[in-house]
């Protein structure tokens, strides 16, 4: 079943088009990652789905509820963790979570235990007595994520969930987002961090300048780059010349270069299919392969391939 669907979704801020006739879907029970630089329209899309912003034109539906015509029903089944956790400066984390859980309908008998568990999981329990304004950036961000872990909505939306969080904290947040998916929620994550996208995504939509450039699984996106996988071989020096020519003829080979008398670098598509063919060939040629190292393209490479721009440069 489709959890989220947009058709020709457009949002204008004055003359600026933040979203340009966006067609986009999320399947129920998957983690969809929106990957794109700042200003690509990620946050605008999330806010439209959360009914905070109204689209200029087009249709957006969450679990078949129209975000413009049935906003209250939409808000009853989704939760959003915003990019920046702000606003409740003089409240304590437990008060903020209690308020959120109560308004979002978490049963009273489960509420306190759930809040305590989530705060412990996200290492916020020791800060439960602090005021929000005294939390560090990372703690505030974890608190924002904690809201959704307590709420457990059918559609959980995270806007850059681990920005400002240290490496250990990032891993904790990511694992809990995956757990949320495993427990039945559909998850939408917006990010410009490729590591986050790679770790979380069942599917990725690359968004650039308000347009959906491509949408697929991480593996398919990487495989779609011709010659994107890099295979480095170490072979016996005596057999190298013939092997380079033969490897060039293998299906999926993009380019083969001899680095020195025993090292070869091959740019291939779908290394997992190419490597067995290569080993068979070497075996038939009686060439001894001493080592094989496979490097996949990164999502940076994928972004570059589909948009013609480097993600880091586009983000800055």
């Amino acid at each position: 079943m489709v959890a989220v669907e947009t058709r020709n979704l457009t949002k204008l801020y004055g003359k600026t088009k933040a979203l340009k006739e966006l067609d986009f879907t999320i399947n129920e029970g998957e983690i969809m990652v929106l990957l794109g630089p700042n200003g690509s329209g990620k946050t605008t899309l999330l806010l439209i789905l959360a009914t905070v912003l109204k689209p200029t034109s087009g249709i957006a539906k969450v679990m078949d509820f129209d975000v413009v015509k049935q906003p209250t029903q939409v808000r009853q089944i989704l939760g959003i963790a915003f990019q920046e956790a702000r606003g409740f400066w003089r409240h304590k984390p437990t008060e903020i979570l209690r308020f959120h859980a109560t308004v979002c309908g978490v049963p009273k008998d489960k509420r306190e235990a759930l809040i305590e568990q989530v705060m412990k999981d996200l290492e916020l329990w020791d800060s439960r007595g602090k005021l929000f304004m005294h939390l560090s950036g990372g703690q505030a961000k974890r608190l924002e994520v904690a809201k959704l872990l307590v709420q457990r909505p059918r559609l959980a939306i995270f806007d850059e969930p681990s920005s400002q969080v240290d490496l250990r904290g990032k891993r904790i947040i990511w694992d809990h987002i995956r757990k949320l998916r495993d427990e039945g929620s559909t998850v939408l994550v917006a990010t410009n961090e490729v590591r986050e996208a790679e770790y979380l995504a069942d599917r990725i939509t690359i968004l650039d300048q308000g347009l959906s450039v491509v949408c697929d699984t991480v593996k398919h996106l990487k495989d779609s780059i011709a010659g994107g996988d890099v295979v480095e071989l170490e072979v016996e020096a005596s057999s190298q010349d013939d092997i380079v020519k033969e490897l060039s003829k293998l299906e999926g080979t993009f380019r083969v270069t001899a680095l020195d008398e025993s090292h070869i670098r091959a740019y291939v598509s779908m290394a997992e299919a190419w490597v067995p063919k290569m080993t068979t060939l070497c075996y038939q040629r009686n060439s001894r392969v001493l080592s094989v190292r496979v490097t996949e393209p990164s999502l940076d490479d994928v972004f570059l391939h589909f948009t013609g721009r480097v993600l880091g440069v586009a983000t800055s």
Binding site: T43, A50, V52, L53, K54, T72, R75, F82, V103
Partner: protein, 253 residues
């Protein structure tokens, strides 16, 4: 407990723990009345018992400041990212806006309970009806002032600094050029001409009339009531419409 009360209490609780702002406002009122009010009431001889007049004026000024604060607070929330959070909660919009309005009303009531009680004691000889009517008028005025601030909020979405400058200047003019501290008939003609455009003139004089002040010193109550009604309805209406449009076009963070 309904979500409306929950929302109101969630915000109000932080004003009360500890209630520094409220105590400061009460303290300011006490000092102002007991020192400045007592001194000036001896200097003003054209009016019997000027302290009573001054005391009501000060309550009106506090009402204006609290109403203004509520309106500005709402705009700040939109900028801070708190408003998008509230808008994302599973609460119908009308309940959310009602909760915000009620919170403003509750803050007004909390801040005014002591100053108004002191004022009523100073005036003395009052009826339940007159006190209830005076409180209702103060709330009406408070809503109107909040509405002015909301209606001006479109400036804040372009520049918070310009908004602050305009609101501060406007507040000063509205308070100074009004009958908050002196009756219209005693004001210099140029000053009086400006005072008839201040909503506080009508709020202050209507409250005074209800509390038994000499009607000959005050503006026509029918005009005052009409002006206050028009102010509350129009500014709140414009404010909500403008705000809905603006909020829908404002990105968070």
């Amino acid at each position: 407990m309904s979500n409306i009360i929950r929302l109101v209490w969630f915000d109000l609780k932080q004003e009360l723990t500890p209630p520094v702002w409220i105590l400061l406002e009460w303290g300011t009122f006490g000092l102002q009345l007991s020192i400045y009010g007592a001194l000036i009431s001896r200097l003003v001889t054209a009016m019997p018992n000027y302290l009573q007049f001054y005391s009501v004026g000060f309550v009106i000024m506090m009402t204006f400041e609290i109403g203004s604060h509520t309106g500005r607070h709402f705009v700040e929330h939109a900028h801070e990212g708190r408003l998008p959070y509230l808008l994302s909660l599973p609460i119908p919009r009308w309940k959310l806006f009602l909760a915000i309005a009620l919170q403003g009303g509750a803050e007004l009531a909390l801040l005014l309970v002591v100053p108004l009680s002191v004022t009523l004691i100073i005036i003395g000889n009052l009826t339940v009806l007159s006190v209830a009517s005076a409180i209702a008028t103060l709330f009406f005025l408070g809503f109107g002032v909040s509405g002015i601030m909301l209606a001006l909020s479109f400036i804040a979405f372009r520049s918070a600094d310009i908004y602050t400058a305009i609101v501060t200047a406007l507040s000063t003019l509205i308070i100074r050029f009004s009958t908050v501290f002196y009756p219209l008939m005693f004001l210099p003609s140029s000053y009086a001409a400006a005072a008839v455009f201040s909503p506080l003139t009508y709020g202050a004089d209507l409250v005074r009339l209800i509390l038994g002040f000499n009607p000959s010193m005050l503006v026509d109550p029918r005009i005052a009531l009409a002006v206050l009604t028009a102010l509350a309805v129009s500014t709140l209406g414009i404010g909500v419409v403008l705000l809905q449009r603006l909020v829908e076009g404002v990105k968070s963070g």
